[in-house]
């Protein structure tokens, strides 16, 4: 197989409050022989909040990020569900609206850039599944995670709106019965846990303005995983990780029950199976201790 190469859009969180996500992404890419060219020029995607304030500015900034991937002639991979949604949504809107694209390009021209629409935008999870292939992952697993019941937590912005997701990913998945993360768990040798909350919202985006709502949703998600005998949770979204890993106190208070489970990034889970060390995967950065390694 030809060496896979992508333009990596890290988003802000992997560089700040989830450094272990950056670390484990690089470690996993290294093991799989995937080359990641970091888009160091990229800005924040606006995280679905900037667009509430200034939609056009959000489009211009996201188009600029994609334009840099295009300069490299590479598919952009994201490692955050919300970055994925904002970038894919921008791409969809510009590719389907010549007038809007021209308006955005008028701005980008001021800094010598152009959005052409030539680069695809996909999440690292789907790059692994669609391009690398789960069968190959299975062959490469060194430490099967067979002792663990692992609860997949998909995160909203990778599965909804499904129309956009289906247009973006080759392995289109259902918003109601997504399979990517379950399949990855199985490929790593783990037992995938089925539970109702796996496709629900963690509440992250309303944490500041509606803390009680957000904490209740976080609590329900962890409780759902715990009630189905999970040893830990795994998510492709650093924002879900932050909510599920660092907000257990508020979550427990909101739902009137002590809840906590280790929450691994999907790269950390894959890394463990591929034989990376806990240190290489940054497992020491979690607030809810990862105590099984």
């Amino acid at each position: 197989m030809e060496k896979l190469k992508y333009a990596l859009f890290t988003g802000c969180t992997a560089k700040q409050s989830t450094p272990e996500q950056m670390k484990s992404t690089m470690a996993v890419a290294d093991k799989l022989g995937i080359e990641l060219v970091e888009l160091t020029e990229a800005s924040c995607c606006g995280a679905s909040h900037l667009q509430d304030y200034d939609d056009f500015l959000s489009l211009v900034l996201n188009a600029r990020n994609i334009a840099y991937a295009e300069k490299h002639g590479l598919t952009m991979v994201t490692i955050c569900n919300t970055c994925q949604l904002n970038t894919a949504m921008t791409k969809h809107r510009l590719d389907n609206n010549e007038k809007l694209k021209a308006q955005v390009n008028e701005k980008l021209a001021e800094v010598g850039l152009e959005y052409k629409g030539t680069s695809e935008v996909t999440h690292f999870l789907y790059a692994i599944i669609d391009d690398f292939g789960l069968d190959k992952i299975k062959e490469m697993v060194k430490t099967p995670l067979r002792d663990f019941n692992i609860a997949p937590f998909y995160g909203c912005h990778n599965i909804r709106p499904s129309e956009l997701q289906n247009e973006t990913h080759k392995s289109a998945e259902s918003a109601y019965r997504p399979t990517s993360l379950d399949d990855l768990i199985i490929a790593c040798g783990g037992n995938n846990v089925d539970y109702a909350e796996k496709t629900k919202c963690c509440g992250f985006h309303a944490e500041l303005q509606a803390p009680k709502t957000a904490a209740t949703l976080t609590g329900n998600a962890i409780a759902g995983a715990m009630d189905n005998d999970s040893d830990w949770m795994v998510t492709p979204c650093p924002l879900c990780h932050l909510k599920l890993d660092t907000q257990t106190h508020h979550a427990s208070e909101a739902i009137g029950r002590e809840v906590a489970l280790p929450v691994l990034h999907m790269q950390q889970m894959l890394g463990l199976a591929l034989g990376c060390t806990p240190d290489e995967l940054g497992l020491n950065h979690h607030l809810t201790k990862v105590d099984f390694v």
Binding site: T13, E41, A47, K107, P161, A210
Partner: protein, 326 residues
């Protein structure tokens, strides 16, 4: 098995049953049925009533996906029974299907729910055109094509409640107006003939309505059988609040605006700075968790943030492309 391309398969239905007059607790009844590929979910509801139990209750009226009466949940997914094909349901969920009302806690009799909260919220946003209309107009009020398109299909909502009872915030926050009410509010906010534009917006912005409490989960966009896309309308309302100068400074508005400031400064976000900007002095409540995160190497101090390369480009674009002041 198959005649004229129609296929049949066995499906086990687990059906929610509850009669508020007689039952203390709800229960589930199992019905095994042969389902044909051309049936819709409503056909199954009919057959349960006609062939199995005449007391089984549900709402339906038009059978054309237009009255909104027949919305229920299949395997937890809000669905318009008369529009949803059984083939799709089986493809999606397999041969074990659970049929439930849109909201279990609001069930009155089987699938029939008390939609009172939905209608109350619908009414609260003044779901009508507010305009001084001349009683004897000399000509019609012409709305241009572009002006009509600005409604973005918000006017085709059939009030089925599928989105409302799929919304996780509705489940946990009684004050939240919900996706359908917000979509309806947008429908009139975007109407050029409406004269209560700012008044309605101010009401929506008031704290208890929760226009800012949406968790952006896209459940409403996913379930809507008419593709109204309520979250898109909520976003539009947010934008209108800023554009019209109705937005006041609160944690939610500062959170949205804070992104612009942070991007203009670093390209990337200063996550800690954003929380400080949004919360103001109330940031103290985040200190215990922040300290724990700091100890685990999960917080980068503002001076150690890796700024975007070519930051001057970003600064220039933020300046030239900003369309809103706040």
């Amino acid at each position: 098995m198959s005649t004229d391309g129609i296929t049949t398969q066995k499906v086990n239905f687990k059906v929610f049953r509850f009669n508020a007059n007689d039952d203390y607790l709800p229960y589930y009844e199992n019905y095994e049925m042969d389902v044909t590929s051309e049936e819709v979910v409503l056909d199954i509801l009919n057959r349960i009533k006609w062939d199995h139990d005449g007391s089984f209750s549900y709402r339906r009226s038009c059978r054309h996906g237009i009255c909104g009466a027949c919305a229920i949940k299949v395997n937890g997914r809000s669905t318009l029974a008369c529009k949803e094909s059984m083939t799709t349901m089986i493809e999606l969920f397999g041969n074990e299907l659970t049929i439930e009302p849109l909201s279990i806690k609001r069930s009155v009799k089987d699938m029939i729910i008390d939609k009172g909260d939905f209608w109350q919220k619908h009414d609260a946003i003044h779901p009508f055109l507010i305009s001084d209309v001349d009683e004897n107009p000399e000509h019609e009020h012409i709305v241009t094509q572009d002006e009509a398109e600005a409604l973005l299909d918000a006017d085709i909502c059939i009030q089925c409640g599928a989105c409302h009872y799929a919304c996780p915030v509705i489940e946990v926050n009684d004050n939240f107006m919900g996706p359908a009410a917000f979509a309806k509010a947008y429908r009139f906010e975007a109407d050029v003939r409406d004269q209560a534009h700012k008044e309605r917006l101010s009401e929506l912005h008031s704290e208890k309505q929760g226009v800012w409490d949406c968790v952006k989960c896209y459940e409403c966009a996913e379930v809507c059988p008419k593709e109204v896309n309520p979250i898109d309308k909520i976003t539009k309302l947010h934008q209108m609040l800023f554009k019209e100068g109705v937005a006041t400074s609160n944690v939610a508005t500062r959170h949205a605006v804070g992104f612009k400031h942070s991007i203009a400064k670093n390209g990337v976000l200063d996550e800690g700075g954003l929380v400080l900007y949004s919360e103001g002095p109330a940031i103290v409540k985040h200190v215990p968790v922040a300290l724990k995160m700091f100890k685990k190497g999960k917080i980068v101090p503002p001076w150690a943030i890796t700024k975007s390369q070519n930051l001057d480009e970003i600064k220039k674009l933020v300046k030239s492309s900003s369309t809103v002041k706040f």
